[in-house]
Symmetry: C2
């Protein structure tokens, strides 16, 4: 229904850039691209970005589920929380994957660091509680 309305709107006024007039209800089913006043080509790109972002969020949610289990398991069998050799292998692998996918390898290393820092914060919070 929303996309049918969008289609009608796009036919009626294909190029309008002012901000939407009303605040929009937000639910996970909505696309953040659901703004009828936007350029139609841009709206198409934004739908793709929103789909990818939903996939990223769900992948990250699953990754943190696993690292939580890893933290609990390491505590149980008294393995050290950090493993620098494993981290080096992860970075080297992600850099190689990034080059193959035409993504900046520097960014992939920064990204892994960003994620690992969050994992460490989770572990610290778990220890405190």
């Amino acid at each position: 229904m929303a996309s049918f309305q969008l289609l009608l709107t796009l036919h009626a006024m294909p190029y309008k850039t002012q901000a939407p007039q009303s605040a929009q209800a937000v639910s996970p089913a909505h696309h953040a691209a659901d703004d009828d006043s936007v350029d139609p080509v841009l709206a198409g790109y934004r739908k793709s970005i929103d789909n990818i972002d939903a996939a990223l969020i769900h992948m990250l949610a699953e990754r943190f589920r696993i690292t939580k289990a890893v933290g609990e398991y390491k505590a149980k069998v008294t393995l050290p929380p950090a493993d620098p050799d494993r981290e080096k292998r992860q970075i080297a692998r992600l850099r190689a994957l990034s080059e193959a996918a035409d993504l900046d390898p520097e960014f992939s290393e920064k990204f892994l660091r960003f994620i690992i820092d969050e994992v460490i914060r989770h572990h610290e919070r778990a220890r405190e509680s």
Copy 2:
């Protein structure tokens, strides 16, 4: 072959934590978890993490392909590079998706900010070249 060797190794020595003796060739086909000396439960978790990381890297590569096209399109039709209303909708949507997936909504907002900062850096680099 590698997993068969891993299986043999795990049967022969199921619990050994010292660092691997030899440097390992890195290729995208390798898992960063491919370290025969690691605890088998931990090795299983790590294979899952490596699969998820590969998915994340490929999703991010595709996302940056699209934002690159968006940057070029916006320059062509003279749309402003930033859209604060769109960003607000993206943040609200990712927070809602995160709550449904049991991921910290604060983290998802930080994550989107991290990605958008990289997109801006890409646009700046594109303008300079």
